[in-house]
């Protein structure tokens, strides 16, 4: 990586180095396509795309934890659930406007993630996966507890009213929520990218690559690992809040451990450690089960499993690895031309 950067700096020695590379152009194209899509699609498809964005946000959070900080989680569905319930309770019981529930969900999930991260400090690899898996399995049971039923509505859950587009914008409810989610998602993505390239981000990656060396460099491992858990949970919680608003309903059984597993699968398919991969992961989570069902309704699970195994064979490092390979290939072809 560093070698390549050096060589490109040398070739561009005379000219001012353009910092606006192909990567940024690709990003702009993706955002433009995402912004244009709902203008041409039916409401149900827009709803699906909104869910894709929401899962992408959740996977982005998971990627910060697993890809950047190297901690496993098979239990992020639990934080998604906490975020969703926070939003639902604040909207229905406290009468808060839906926009304000997102920061609230973020804060609540940051705290719960941070607190869960503290005991998780002692766990590594497969043990952490197991503990978080336990969290995911237990979450629906906790939500059904009779002690908190006045707020959570028990098994019945909470029904939420869908917000209209504000300022008399000529958008349907689904379109408005799509754009709302897109803006929130872009803001969070911007935050994540900046976090990763900051001093704290480097500390997180140092812990992932070599905890001992990180500590020797003066990184407070325990604090940063817990913080990573908190930030990651906050992202996922905000996604959960958005999910609650868009689906207009929360109930314990919408947040089984299958949700956590889906987020995890999305993370691996998108590419661990590659932030834009979250979008690919979100698309996988929403659309592949539909594709599998389309093949054969009774065998949908088996088809889904086979697709998953094939994907792991074809792109062992997820979409991120594939993109990097293709980019490297094109880069080499361009460089080998003498006239450039």
């Amino acid at each position: 990586m560093s070698v390549r950067e050096e060589s490109s700096a040398i070739t561009a020695a005379g000219k001012p180095v353009s910092r606006f590379g192909a990567r940024n152009w690709a990003g702009i194209v993706v955002v433009l396509v995402l912004a244009a899509l709902p203008l041409f699609l039916a409401n149900f498809t827009i709803f699906q795309l909104t869910m894709m964005l929401i899962y992408a946000i959740a996977i982005l959070g998971l990627n910060l934890l697993t890809g950047i900080n190297g901690q496993f989680s098979l239990g992020h569905g639990a934080f998604y659930a906490i975020g969703a319930y926070t939003a639902a309770i604040l909207m229905e019981d406290a009468g808060l406007a839906y926009g304000w529930t997102l920061p609230a969900a973020g804060i609540v999930c940051f705290l719960s993630g941070f607190l869960f991260g503290l005991p998780a400090l002692r766990l590594e690899g497969i043990y952490l996966a197991l503990a978080t898996f336990g969290l995911a399995v237990a979450m629906p049971q906790f939500l059904k507890l009779s002690v908190i039923e006045p707020w959570t509505g028990g098994v019945q859950g909470i029904v939420i009213t869908k917000p209209d587009a504000p300022f008399g914008l000529p958008l349907s409810q689904d379109q408005w929520l799509y754009y709302f989610t897109l803006v929130v998602g872009l803001l969070l993505y911007w935050f994540a990218v900046n976090l990763v390239s900051s001093r704290s981000g480097r500390a997180l990656m140092a812990i992932r690559d070599n905890p001992l060396a990180a500590r020797a460099m003066g990184v407070n491992n325990a604090l940063y690992k817990s913080l990573a858990f908190g930030v990651s949970a906050a992202f996922t919680g905000i996604a959960g809040a958005l999910g609650a608003i868009v689906v207009q309903f929360v109930a314990p059984d919408s947040f089984t451990f299958f949700l956590s597993v889906a987020l995890f699968v999305g993370l691996v398919v998108g590419g661990v450690g590659w932030l834009p991969g979250a979008l690919v992961g979100g698309a996988f989570v929403v659309f592949v089960p539909n594709v599998a069902e389309h093949f054969n309704k009774a065998l949908a699970g088996a088809v889904y499993g086979v697709i998953l195994i094939l994907l792991i064979y074809l792109m062992p490092t997820g979409a991120g690895g594939l993109v990097r390979k293709v980019a490297d290939f094109i880069g080499r072809r361009m460089k080998s031309r003498p006239d450039r």
Partner: protein, 291 residues
């Protein structure tokens, strides 16, 4: 006092289920150093195979042996077919493939045998033992679990191939250098884990009834038992499984907030608490790494 004894005995009875499962989990962990999240579904599938054989009129013990043999072969096939190509893949890819296998087995079983709940016969007859505290099946289940444990002990301790498997798991490179075929040892580990899973499934099915989703929560209790006992120790797995059964029963009886609906979180609490206090489990070896 009487209630206490009653709860402990019935805890031991349910714990035997978890012990069976935990044993299978520990076996595969020994061979591949991953927790197989599809283990429960594989056991469920094996149990369905046994059910089919019984439905075709095969006598119970013959069906039992056939199922164990088929599961053994099936485990090896899965390793050779799916996991061999992933040998050097990151852990995350392995976990995703486990999830894929989970989905495949679950959906296949539902497709072939549908989702109706089926009764599964017990080879130990019905009646009551110990003044009605335990059914003969539960007693038989405990005996079978201990028997499997003893067989495993003998296998790993006294046979050449058992030694080779241990070597392959402990240090693949050196094992390869002394002529052990490490790849096949891993496959063998898969086969054995699958076979033990089949035994567990056939022992569990008479208690919980047979259906494609029967193993989901049991697998979790199995994990709890395996972690409690230490993932490196088969004896620990059995003790851990029994302990989880007892803890679950006692908590359900004596802690007022914990009703039947909170039994599962109790198992999870056990996992987390044990991991935090003793990461290698009660009987597990602590793995020290040189840096």
């Amino acid at each position: 006092m009487e209630i206490l004894i009653q709860q402990i005995v019935s805890g031991v009875a349910t714990g035997a289920i978890y012990a069976c499962m935990a044993l299978a989990i520990v076996m595969i962990y020994q061979a591949i150093h991953h927790l197989n999240f599809a283990q429960g579904e594989m056991a469920m599938f094996s149990t369905f195979v046994a059910w089919q054989l019984l439905a075709w009129g095969v006598p119970y013990w013959l069906a039992f042996v056939l199922t164990v043999a088929l599961s053994f072969a099936g485990g090896i096939v899965i390793e050779r077919l799916v996991f061999r190509r992933l040998e050097n893949a990151p852990v995350l890819s392995h976990v995703v493939v486990f999830i894929a296998l989970f989905a495949i087995f679950n959906s296949l079983a539902g497709f072939i045998w549908n989702f109706e709940i089926k009764p599964f016969p017990s080879p130990f007859g019905s009646g009551a033992l110990f003044g009605g505290l335990m059914s003969p099946h539960q007693a038989g289940m405990i005996v079978v679990t201990l028997l499997v444990l003893a067989l495993l002990y003998v296998f790993f301790r006294f046979t050449r191939i058992g030694l080779a498997m241990r070597a392959a798991a402990a240090n693949p490179e050196s094992a390869r250098l002394v002529g052990i075929r490490v790849g096949w040892m891993t496959a063998l580990g898969w086969g054995m884990a699958s076979a033990i899973g089949a035994v567990a499934g056939m022992m569990i099915a008479p208690v919980v009834f047979l259906e494609p989703n029967m193993m989901v929560s049991i697998l979790l209790y199995g994990f709890a038992g395996a972690v409690l006992g230490g993932l490196t120790s088969p004896v620990g797995a059995v003790i851990g499984g029994l302990a989880v059964g007892i803890i679950e029963n006692l908590a359900g009886t004596y802690i007022p907030v914990v009703g039947p609906e909170l039994k599962l979180p109790v198992a999870l609490f056990v996992i987390v608490a044990v991991l935090v206090v003793r990461p290698s489990g009660l009987l597990g070896r602590k793995i020290v790494q040189r840096v």
